[in-house]
Symmetry: C3
Amino acid sequence: MNASRENPPTASHREAIRALYDAYFETLDDGRLEEWPEFFADECRYRIITRENYEAAQGLCIMQADSKGMLTDRVRAILKTQVYAPRYYRRFYSGLRVLGGTGKEWEVRQNVLIVQTLIDKPSEILGCGVGRDRVVSNASGELKFVDRTLVFDTEMIRNSLIYPA
Amino acid sequence: MNASRENPPTASHREAIRALYDAYFETLDDGRLEEWPEFFADECRYRIITRENYEAAQGLCIMQADSKGMLTDRVRAILKTQVYAPRYYRRFYSGLRVLGGTGKEWEVRQNVLIVQTLIDKPSEILGCGVGRDRVVSNASGELKFVDRTLVFDTEMIRNSLIYPA
Amino acid sequence: MNASRENPPTASHREAIRALYDAYFETLDDGRLEEWPEFFADECRYRIITRENYEAAQGLCIMQADSKGMLTDRVRAILKTQVYAPRYYRRFYSGLRVLGGTGKEWEVRQNVLIVQTLIDKPSEILGCGVGRDRVVSNASGELKFVDRTLVFDTEMIRNSLIYPA
């Protein structure tokens, strides 16, 4: 996407970025929503958008947050509105590509499949898409998301309550 | 889960553990069930349990074996009761995390998606969950499962005959 | 499959092969079909075959191309016959195994799950199977497919128009 691609990540950068995604998805799969904002920088953007809108460069999102504070608000809202049909979401990712970076910031892409399970029903696909992210190494050397944009293939999300992914 | 997490795995440990899982799932995907017990230490535990029971710390399992011998028995039983509606199971895993270890033993976690195919029907999700395992390096330097606990999100497994995963 | 397995791939070979698959699937997921033949050597074979036929060593394929030129023809045919029910395919892979090689050529195996999305419908599994491939390093040091054989578990592909995978 830009000149930063000329600076390829080292094997150890790639490994650290993979570990970030492993921890990120595990946190969400476990339902530890209150820890989710900690994966983001204070100044950040999180979006879920349909592929159709994304490719048409239309800004309309299914969900959008423009700061870590908004992510925290989002978590509070989800925890409050929790309806009681217990269900689990599990995330599978594939094709994690670190597309380039500056040594401090990387573009990362990965396919994501989200499987939903109501405990007394067979598991089913909730949706799939691609994460198009920017990750930075902060002052403490921790990796944080500056931007996470999840582009969903379908506009028909089975569930009106949107969980993070 | 314990202090062993203070001893992080090296890149080469991680690579060897990944290779173990790749070989493990390939063996099962290929239907070479008779080779399956070889992935375990003589003293071992293998369990399939629902997430609900697991999180409630209830011991009730969908399937449990407490030694390699019991795994071998299990394989014999499956091969004998094989009903003839030919079907395949294929396993996809994601987020393989080696959570820590002693240099001889590691805790490993990974998401698992099992897809079932009856050859004249579309493929469908059989179930998904998380493997919470302990792997050891034995006297010959081979990696073996000491414990494999597969925590399934659903209690509704489409198939009464439980195949290993 | 043969003696070449005695020559195990190095970590950097494995990493380069993983990058090949990441780029390959991304190209297809993005729908950049016209770039697809570039992943193949001039002399190559591409096949999609059912598991039943593959295991019975019957040559009958769902799709077969015996040269890069035939792949290009295939792409032209697909682009021309595009029916307008916009849909996306997304590929998830798991268990990438580099089974051995000569330092110039490798056998590679990986599970593939293909998810289909009609944009106003929930995503669903199109099919799954295993890729059994041979990859070479060409004169310029680029990795190319010499053979890609995708063995599908089901003979019931939801869609008569076969897209590459």
